[in-house]
Amino acid sequence: MNFPILSSLIIFPTVGAIFILFGRSSSNYNAAKYISLFVSLANFILSIFLWYEFDKNNSGFQFVEERLWLEGLINYKIGIDGISILFIILTTFITPLCIISVNSTIKNRLKDFLIAILVMETMMIGVFCSLDLVIFYLFFEAGLIPMFLIIGIWGGQRRVYSAFKFFLYTLLGSVLMLVAIISIYWITGTTDVIKLYELGIDAKYQHLLWLAFFSSFAVKTPMWPVHTWLPDAHVEAPTAGSVLLAAILLKMAGYGFIRFSVGLFPIASEYFVSFIFVLSLIAIIYTSLVALMQEDMKKLIAYSSVAHMGFVTMGIFTMTPEGIEGSIFQMISHGIISAALFLCVGVVYERTHTREISKYGGIVSVMPRYAVVFMVFTLGALGLPGTTGFIGEFLILLGTFKVNFVVATIASLGVILGAAYMLWLYRRIVFGEITNTELNKLVDLNKSEMTTLSILAIASILFGFYPDPLLSTTTTSVESLIELFNSNIKLYTASNL
């Protein structure tokens, strides 16, 4: 097929953003809304078409496009495999929902907001497509600019602090990755991921390079102890910003771990497994406990994200098919569920302008539909069988039990804690007597809120009962990645004997 479908996926949102920028409708935002909705939906349909065309039994990269870019140094190269395609679909799926949710949440400068979201979509799709380290870095970093503006312009009280913290933390992590990428270029002569998979990187460089990549991904994941930017960013970002951040931005790092850390530096990855396990366990247990203590709804969900991403990193570094597939599934599931939870928080925040849990209670009697939807996602987040959350956590724990019994047991405790803080949150908000009289005035979900939330709920339950379409897409690629990993390890141990 000659049509550059991936490049169009990347460029299309930005083209839409340019249309909005130069559209002369400063007072009337409808045109901007429709353009952005149209563009993002078209992108979603295109990505579904991509999924349809995608060959699940091919373990290599498909839809590869390569163009001369920095002459003699770096080519623009993009392509997808079973690992990345799901993230692209997640991105194109979440973005239109964000744009619908914007209707009620963003009051001022809507046009700029839509531009920022569309540019963000370009960057996120670019991250998941890129098959060249420099191109990857370019998209990875460029995403900071729109997100900085989203948090800073439309955020809450401490938005400036949070935006700066978000930007500088991530930048600090990433510059070391840039050093590593350039070093890889001089060590191997290329930054093309496919070639690097074939060539392999000399074992003596792998540990330092792995750490440099880790510094960037750990901040972005975020892993304990560099997770502190996340609660701040989440709390201050507007609802749509939180959704993008939780649903997609965090996945860039998880994806990076699978694609680059495991794929490019197998020996170092093997070496650092216990390091990752320890950090992941701390993230799971410690942030779950912290989440229990939160008074702010968004902060609680933010900490739960850290805990969930702890499962993801743990699953990836089990290096088992179950673990990695589980991690990918968990990321998709977390993308759907956390997006929905942030939207749920946004719904009540728009009505009461407070996120303090103690101000709520007894919402079920005034907002019954909301209570039902929120219930679905609460159960999803704690991993009830029948939701996507269960399958992800189950596969990860399955993979971990294979590798390390103790780690898996401790992580299972995290599942219980997760149930505790999510159910407690739900109880405090939805059940009980109405103590705050203002809550009596609340109106139940309106049409657009109902649409977005029910789409997400359907996705969560559908793939919870029938995960096969997602799992079968990833299986072949994950298996070939693990094969590559194992053969590298064997080669290395053989050479060391």
Binding site: L68, W69, L70, E71, G72, L73, V134, Y137, L138, E141, A142, L144, I145, F148, L149, G152, I153, R159, V160, A163, F164, F167, L168, L171, L172, V175, L176, L178, V179, I182, S183, Y185, W186
Partner: protein
């Protein structure tokens, strides 16, 4: 037989300067005419220089004047940027009522000095060009005579620059004394690692030139001079002398002193690290945009020197790329500054930018692009500039330099972000005037366009720059 074609641009420029002086003296109220004529002559000059690209590397005047790709490229860079500087600063000069006939003539003489400097292949020719350039700049710095800050900056620049010229001359005389020649090629043949006299000379020359590009620890003049000079002159200071001086540094390091690479590499690494870090940290406390850009330019010079410190052709090319992109960023930034005008007063405090995005969305987007580019965030041009530098530095396994450089970009990102915060997150103030000179608008559009769209075809400059091979 001397081939005068090679030096024809310089001869043409000297004639133009004298001709314009005559017009200025004999024709009353000819400021505009002289200004426009000088822009036209710069354009002709640019065409003349472009025309020379067909020549091979060649020397004239007993090998004391060199025409090669390096000199031609930096000359055309100087000229094209000078044209845009002249176009964009016209309205500023008029509003500030400092549009006098001397102004364009001094600019042209300074450019003549730079061209001589860039092409020099001999200590004496080099010094001649340098002084011609500097003398014109002293006057330009204090061009707003009745403003105390402007006079101060002129005097300060003169005194400190004279000191550095003294050091430079002393270095030149040492080099001449120990190598027996003023010609770069001969010096190169005559110098060896063990000649301490030449090494002393080298250090003095590097110090003198570091002063001209305001690298730490010889940067003290820059913030005051930048702040005090009229903004159009600050733009000139921030852009052109740095290109000329950087070219001369390249020439010095890679022709006469190429055998002393071990010695000067250490010095350059130190200067470069100090400039990157100091520029980034000191800018945090600044509240005047011109002072801020002074510190930012100190930091940027550190990156340009980091490329040179690698001691390879790739390093030289990355430095030239860096300085080219830096020029575009400076031009774009100052074009934005020229637009902050209210009732004939130009605003240059950071807080004057407060909430700019509400009233001036287009100008704010331009500033956003410029500032993120200065911070080196992809996909803007500033990222590619830094990328090339670090490619060259890491190729030589100078990891310390690379990591310090990248960490100082994070520090520097803080103050660029603070500007963006003020523009985008803060409460709006009174509107600025919106009727801008068309030339200024074009300059801003072109320069931000280059910065924003550079990623589409980043090989733009490489075709020419990759032909610069000195070792």
């Amino acid at each position: 037989m001397i081939n005068f074609d090679l030096i024809f641009p310089e001869i043409f420029l000297s004639l133009v300067i004298m001709f314009l002086l005559m017009i200025g003296v004999f024709k009353k109220n000819s400021e505009r005419l002289v200004y426009n004529l000088s822009i036209i002559s710069l354009i002709i000059l640019f065409a003349l220089v472009i025309n020379l690209y067909t020549f091979e590397e060649s020397y004239i005047f007993n090998e004391s004047y060199k025409i090669d790709i390096l000199s031609l490229f930096t000359k055309s860079l100087v000229l094209i940027v000078a044209i845009f500087i002249m176009i964009s600063s016209f309205s500023y000069l008029k509003t500030q009522s400092i549009l006098k006939i001397e102004y364009p003539i001094l600019i042209l003489s300074s450019i003549l000095g730079m061209m001589v400097m860039i092409s020099s292949n001999d200590l004496i020719v080099f010094y001649l060009g340098l002084e011609l350039q500097s003398l014109a700049l002293y006057v330009l710095a204090s061009f707003k005579r009745d403003n105390i800050l402007s006079s101060e900056s002129g005097l300060k620049y003169f005194v400190l620059s004279a000191l550095s010229s003294g050091l430079l001359l002393y270095g030149c005389s040492l080099v001449y004394g120990f190598s027996g020649s003023t010609n770069f090629n001969t010096i190169s043949d005559q110098t060896f690692q063990t000649q301490y006299g030449v090494i002393f000379g080298l250090v003095f020359i590097i110090v003198g030139l570091a002063f001209k590009i305001s690298a730490v620890p010889f940067h003290m003049w820059a913030p005051d001079v930048y702040q005090g000079s009229p903004t159009s002159v600050t733009l000139f200071f921030a852009a052109l002398p740095k290109v000329a001086a950087l070219t001369v540094i390249i020439r010095f390091l890679y022709t006469p002193f190429v055998n002393l690479m071990d010695q000067w590499q250490t010095i350059l690494v130190f200067i470069s690290i100090a400039s990157m870090l100091f520029g980034a940290i000191a800018a945090i406390g600044q509240y005047n945009l011109k002072r801020l850009i002074a510190y930012s330019s100190i930091s940027h010079m550190g990156y340009a020197l980091a490329g040179l410190a690698s001691g390879t052709n790739q390093g030289i090319q990355s430095s030239i790329t860096y300085i080219s992109i830096y020029l575009v960023m400076t031009l774009a930034f100052f074009s934005c500054l020229f637009m902050l005008r209210k009732k004939s007063v130009f605003y240059e405090k950071i807080e004057d930018l407060s909430g700019l995005s509400t009233n001036h969305p287009v100008l704010s987007v331009a500033l956003l692009i410029v500032l993120f580019s200065l911070a080196g965030i992809p996909p803007l041009a500033g990222f590619f500039a830094k990328f090339y530098i670090f490619m060259a530095v890491i190729e030589q396994s100078m990891y310390f330099l690379a990591i310090v450089g990248l960490l100082s970009t994070v520090v520097a990102a803080f103050y660029y972000l603070r500007l963006i915060k003020i523009i985008y997150f803060d409460k709006p103030k009174e509107k600025f005037e919106k009727d801008h000179n068309i030339g200024l608008k074009i300059t801003l559009a072109i320069s931000t366009g280059i910065l924003g769209l550079y990623f589409i075809y980043p090989g733009l400059l490489n075709n020419i720059i990759s032909r610069i091979l000195l070792i």
